[in-house]
């Protein structure tokens, strides 16, 4: 079996595993829609006070909310993907089994996470978005190319998201209890990805900084491609650079960590 086919199979497994929990998926859709509603009304009050805040008009701001609710689980902005499981395996030592597999540790987990993200995108992303489009005045692109450009940006965002969470998970090799790291990652991911407020609404230097950080790939970047606020190619380059840098960092940390496992005797 070719290496490529192996990882496709792993990804398909990840997709199927998350697709098993139907009631949980319905519950998640309900909750994302409820939070979307709350956010939409606060944004409407905000944009009512300051039209064109952050360069968005009101329909664009509303669209931003529903994109956020749709991608929230897919991109696991604050965490909650496969990294919790990997962390647990590192803590218990089960990761030794993963290392024995004739597959690369990072690629294996990347494939699993992409499978998961793919399911969350279809299973949990579509409904809140459609709900938003039905009940609110949204800025939907008229041309197919923008929709496709958006999907490419979402795919790149999946890579960046995994790369960040993989680093978080690997920290468990050094810190037996990863609760603190998970909380910090959640804090940063939530704040810096634009889930609280679009990053272009953040004032001054704070705004400049958060927009340059990798987390802006997770919601701000695809949303701006969708809303026609950013050039797709420039956005892809930004996301790809962060993906490569973070995945490479993950690889380095991984090799340092696996040496540790051998020393400990796994």
């Amino acid at each position: 079996m070719g290496a490529g086919r192996l990882y496709v199979a792993v990804a398909a497994g990840g997709f199927r595993r998350y697709a098993t929990y139907r009631a949980a998926t319905v519950a998640g859709v309900f909750t994302n829609t409820a939070f979307g509603l709350i956010l939409v009304y606060t944004y409407m009050a905000l944009w009512d006070e300051r039209p064109h805040l952050g360069g968005y008009d009101l329909p664009q701001a509303i669209t931003y909310v529903w994109i956020g609710q749709s991608l929230f689980k897919t991109l696991a902005n604050g965490g909650g993907g496969v990294e919790t499981e990997l962390m647990e395996r590192i803590r218990t030592g089960d990761v030794a089994v993963d290392l024995y597999r004739p597959a690369d540790l990072q690629l294996w987990w990347l494939a699993t996470d992409l499978g998961r993200a793919g399911f969350e995108f279809l299973g949990r992303g579509v409904v809140p978005f459609v709900f938003g489009a039905l009940f609110f005045d949204m800025a939907l692109p008229a041309d197919v190319t923008t929709w496709l450009a958006f999907l490419v940006s979402v795919a790149l965002a999946m890579l960046v998201s995994f790369a960040i969470r993989y680093l978080v998970a690997l920290s468990a090799f050094w810190l037996m209890d990863g609760t603190g790291v998970i909380q910090m990652a959640w804090l940063l991911g939530w704040f810096c990805s634009g889930m609280l407020l679009p990053l272009n609404v953040f004032p001054g230097a704070l705004g400049e900084v958060v927009r340059a950080l990798p987390w802006s790939s997770l919601l701000q970047a695809p949303a701006d491609v969708f809303l026609g606020q950013a050039d797709p190619l420039g956005t892809y380059a930004f996301q790809a650079v962060w993906a490569v840098v973070l995945l490479a960092a993950g690889r380095m940390v991984q090799s340092a960590a696996t040496r540790r496992v051998v020393v400990q005797g796994g």
Binding site: F30, Y41, T179, P203
Partner: protein
């Protein structure tokens, strides 16, 4: 501390002797279990301190979002930053307390699925008390203290025309608000007996509820306001009493005395949630594993 934390056989015996003993027994069991969890957390003091601090910081993000909004505008839905901070403070403090006291209930779905609820059923203490105290996390004080700080700041900065009635309404609002959120947690857990792995629906009402109440009622659509006033009466946690204290117009054109209904609404909510819980527990069939 060590003495009071011992789970002794007396827990069960007392129930038949005292009228209303079931409640006392529950409260007692609750405190014993909570105490045990506090002791176990305190074994790692640094970890506890850090977790409380992160709990404080993560929940403070909601207020940071509000501050960011007000860095761009002077008012939201006709409310000033101080007035929004007042709403936020009450919502966050009451929810934080309810989450600390009874928030563990949301784990019910998992316990039903993996069969560990059975362990609680055979113990001589009310299941509700055991569920609520399970993995009691004192670190959740982080949210409450953060909410209380914001509330304190708002009270200092607001120019409220205090009357004895308004002063009295403050503690009443906090206690009733906490009770209403507790009822939501209990009802949510009861719902999980039916929908076992749909725990996330509960989040829409608990975390979603507190987020909703952090913003002025004037921001939301009338249908939504009606829903959280007449159906799931979250509006009585802070919107109605707070608008009275702040001297602002009421949502939905409600009469002025509606602000004082919070304790009554809280009592009804807790009663109904209790009934739902009993019905849920009765319908429970073990996984049999």
């Amino acid at each position: 501390m060590a003495e009071s934390c011992r789970l002794d056989a007396g827990v069960h015996r007392r129930a038949e002797e005292v009228p209303g003993g079931r409640v006392r027994e529950g409260v007692r069991a609750y405190f014993l279990i909570a105490c045990m969890w506090i002791r176990s957390t305190m074994a790692y003091r640094t970890s506890f301190a850090l977790m409380t601090l992160t709990n404080f910081a993560t929940t403070a993000l909601d207020f940071v979002a509000i501050l960011l909004m007000f860095s761009r505008v002077d008012a939201l839905g006709g409310y000033s930053l101080q007035q929004v901070a007042f709403l936020y403070g009450v919502s966050s403090t009451t929810f934080g307390l309810a989450d600390m006291v009874i928030g563990s209930m949301e784990r019910l779905g998992r316990r039903v699925r993996d069969g560990t609820l059975d362990t609680l059923l055979v113990r001589p203490a009310p299941v509700l008390a055991q569920m609520a105290a399970d993995q009691f996390a004192l670190r959740r004080l982080g949210r409450t203290s953060q909410g209380a700080l914001v509330l304190g700041w708002a009270l200092l900065r607001l120019d409220i025309d205090w009357t004895p009635l308004k002063v009295l309404l403050m503690p009443v609002m906090l206690v009733s608000g906490c009770a209403i959120f507790c009822a939501v947690f209990i009802a949510g857990a009861a719902f999980q007996f039916v929908a076992q792995d749909a725990a996330e629906v509960q989040n829409a009402f608990t975390y979603g509820g507190t987020t909703l109440l952090q913003y002025p009622p004037t921001v939301f659509a009338t249908e939504l306001l009606r829903g959280v006033t007449y159906v799931l009466p979250l509006a009585f946690v802070n919107w109605l009493p707070a608008t009275y204290v702040l001297g602002l117009p009421y949502p939905l054109g409600l009469p002025e005395w509606a602000a004082f209904l919070s304790p009554l609404v809280a009592a009804v909510c807790v009663g109904l949630a209790g009934l739902a819980w009993r019905a849920g527990l009765r319908s429970y069939r073990s996984t049999g594993s």
